[in-house]
Amino acid sequence: MSALTLYQLVALMLLAIGLYGIVQRRTLVGMLISVELMLNGAGLSIVAAAQLTEANAMLGQLGTLLVMGLAAAEATLVLAIIVVVSRRFGTTELSALSTLKE
């Protein structure tokens, strides 16, 4: 197996773990952790594809930097949403949040 395939397989492993976590977790914080795992896998995949093929390597690195920035913005917003939800419902358990209106 070539180096590129190995790196992409590791990124896919992160994707699988993240998807497993996002379905299996029962709180919003646990889901946020799983989303971060998946975003890391995406970044690793982009960098491996840019560094090990004929593609523009600089573009790949800058793209991963942008993914990191988006991950930071997303974590900020999700933190705010978690605070609002836990203030309104008293919990962040998903089974308590699944009704739209009572």
Binding site: L14, V29, G43, A49, L70, T76, I82, V84
Partner: protein, 169 residues
């Protein structure tokens, strides 16, 4: 890849796998966060192997330094400790669904990847840091500005969401 690089790759892959498994399966969310940090360090090592030391540094600075602290605040502000909502046992059906949700898309992608591998270079390219900086400020300056705008909007949105109105209480 040389033997040493293969060895380092295996070690980093094991670190990523172990950290990821702890992150999704630990009962306490604080332990899960520690697993997440371990995974970030493993991915950072992969960036070093890919000859992108700047990204490895940024990975530690942004993910370990900023995102993990944010997630830790989320853990602290909600009741997400060992006695919290995650501590109850998971039913086998839910675990099965979660496994299917994780393995089916990733397995399909892996099948395509192994069957049609891309042409890989032996050695990763090396991009000097000044080239990255000038790319960020010249060729891709619009993206650079847009990401700062997104960060600004996200932060002001977060402040606005958590603003407690005094007159309503």
């Amino acid at each position: 890849m040389e033997i040493l690089a293969k060895l380092a790759f295996t070690i980093y892959a094991v670190i990523i796998l172990g950290g990821g498994l702890v992150a999704v399966s630990a009962k306490s969310l604080v332990r899960s966060l520690v697993g997440l940090i371990v995974t970030f360090f493993g991915v950072s090592g992969m960036y070093l192997l890919l000859n992108t030391p700047f990204l490895a540094f940024m990975q530690m600075l942004i993910y370990v330094g900023a995102v993990c602290v944010l997630v830790f605040f989320a853990v602290m502000l909600t009741r997400a400790d060992g006695q919290g909502e995650e501590a109850a046992p998971i039913t086998a059906k839910r675990r099965l669904y979660a496994l299917a949700a994780g393995l089916l898309p990733a397995g399909g992608l892996a099948l395509v990847l192994v069957k049609h591998p891309g042409i890989s270079k032996i050695l990763p390219e090396e991009v000097p840091l000044p080239a990255l900086g000038s790319g960020l400020l010249e060729q891709y300056s619009l993206n650079f500005e847009l990401i700062s705008l997104v960060l600004l909007v996200a932060m002001s949105g977060a402040v606005l969401l958590t603003w407690e109105r005094k007159e309503k209480k």
